[in-house]
Subunit: 344 residues, 2 copies
């Protein structure tokens, strides 16, 4: 069996992740006849373009999932909590993009290519947080080759993490600012127009850590099976549409040269853009629409002396990827493909 012989349902098909997922399925050759799409009850009955076809939106329900092999949940945690057990009971594999099951020990939290043993036949699989996916995919080759002792990162996160409402806020507030009009209110606590602000997730009152940072810490530890790995994240949003960038300082388990780091990342399937002479490094605009994890600015930490062989344990680098694809829809599709490849 392969992906385009599978009966697939997409819940939350009109959202930014749902639409990205459909575009990936279309590119994979999944025929419209095998697809069912659902959205909110208000949208039910209206249509959605899929390649040259039109799909009719259904309501997400027990009826919707009946007979499906595979259900992608691209909605909120509440929808996932309600629908995942129903779909599972109906015999479908469920891949959930929300945070509903990411901390549930019975549900694999899976980044294919990073922690494939996590899945051993479970019917519900959690797709990790976008920033966590980017981090583990960017650093996995280094972890596998050299080990990782600690990570300090600051994020430059796109507004698409807040969905279509985030994108609309960026465009409308920026347009208002350029034309010196009053800025419309938005989904964010601060203006996005020519601004940077701390991630809009809830902040823990006692620790000061916000929800996005907590997800990075907990999900990264869980994906790598390193429950006490030292991770220090600071998550901010920037006026960028849909690719996240992370500025990372990583301490490896052994001293290596910068050439070894670059070679290891390159052989690990990452897209290297690291031209010091031309000042060309990863950017969100370049990463947008691509399936790659981009890395660059790879350099030894200038605060740490190199040993006699030119090696050190501490490196700084940038990582960047399309948050809607690499950080969400593409990882979900890769999970489905990995399950199908294993013969389920």
């Amino acid at each position: 069996m392969n992906l385009n012989q599978t009966k697939i349902g997409v819940v939350g098909a009109t959202g930014v992740v749902g639409r990205e997922l459909l575009s990936i399925l279309a590119a994979r050759g999944v025929p419209p006849s095998l697809l069912r799409v659902a959205a909110s009850s208000e949208a039910s009955g209206s249509t959605l373009s899929y390649g040259n076809a039109e799909l009719i939106l259904a309501e997400a329900s027990a009826n919707f999932v009946a007979g499906l092999d595979l259900v992608f949940l691209c909605a909120g945690a509440d929808v996932a909590q309600r629908l995942a057990p129903v779909a599972r009971a109906a015999g479908a594999i469920v891949i959930d993009n929300s945070s509903a099951f990411r901390a549930d020990p019975r549900v694999p939290l899976w980044v294919p290519g990073v922690n494939d043993p996590a899945w051993s036949g479970e019917s519900v699989i959690a797709n990790p947080n976008c920033s966590a996916i980017l981090l583990v995919r960017a650093l996995e080759p280094l972890r596998a080759a050299f080990g990782i002792d600690s990570i300090i990162l600051s994020t430059y996160q796109a507004v698409s993490g807040a969905g279509q409402a985030g994108l609309s806020a960026l465009w409308s507030q920026t347009q208002a600012r350029l034309s010196q009009s009053p800025e419309p209110p938005s989904v964010f606590p601060e203006s996005c127009a020519f601004n940077v602000f701390s991630h809009d997730s809830e902040v823990e009152l006692d620790s000061g850590v916000n929800g996005e940072e907590r997800k990075i810490i907990e999900e990264t530890r869980r994906i790598w099976g390193t429950p006490s790995l030292a991770i220090t994240p600071t998550c901010l949003r920037v006026p960028v549409e849909r690719a996240h960038l992370e500025s990372i300082v990583v301490e490896l388990g052994m001293a290596v040269s910068v050439d070894q780091v670059v070679l290891t990342l390159s052989q690990g399937g990452l897209r290297i853009r690291d031209d010091r002479a031309r000042n060309q490094f990863p950017t969100p605009r370049l990463a947008t629409g691509t399936d790659d994890v981009w890395v660059g600015r790879i350099r030894p930490d200038p605060a740490v002396a190199l040993d006699g062989r030119g090696c050190t344990r501490r490196f700084a680098l940038l990582a960047c990827a399309d948050q809607l694809r690499v950080g969400a829809a593409l990882n979900a599709v890769r999970i489905a493909e990995a399950i199908i490849a294993r013969g389920r």
Copy 2:
């Protein structure tokens, strides 16, 4: 003597820092009769508004500086190299905003309130790099109270660091992107519209450190007199007009509580915006046009366990300030005021 009894010259008066400096001098009550302004030779003879007055632009020359008490150089390093010795020979105090003299051991690199003993009567004073000023002003209360062992920071830098051309690039490229028109070329190697890119300063081919990062390392060490302080900077530009933000992880010389950190920063004159319940923290938009250094998101590093008293040596925080004021023109004016206060 005070600032508004001083004969002042401003070179580079039409640039973004020059204009900001003039607005600060006007707010300080410096009368136009005591001011001379210079710009490029092409602009010579045209006029510049100053409060209700009009100033006539001269050419920057030996003639221009003759008879002045104080000359602010708000131009490039080449102009500074040429004009500073001439102004000094003519008896003026020179405050230079360029990088020309920042590494010169004979020239004080001065952030008033941080390293006041640096000046002992010298006629030429260097105004530090904007990102270095923000960093030392944000952390000085902690350094003075507890000591600092290491700093890791990622910057979110405004385009105004590249002058009016940077601002124009941001506005025109963003407008083009919103209207789906081709983006005009700009002063930056990457598009600024809804993008993030590594700082546009030259990258050292051997170390991978860029010019802005090198300035932060060297100038911070020089200002604090700590020539081997561990500093790991990553400098990026974001689509923001004129305030820089820095995401900082600092290791103090002793373990303290987060309350002690907040109190120390607050008593040190910083503007605290740190409302976890309402998700209100420093932003570039809030800092723009203000004379404050804003700090917030002050929290213990979640990767490090607190001791029995709830203390740790490692903290994360955000710092933000108007790059043209706090990071440039205001610091220059504060240098002048400090010199005058000491009776020169």
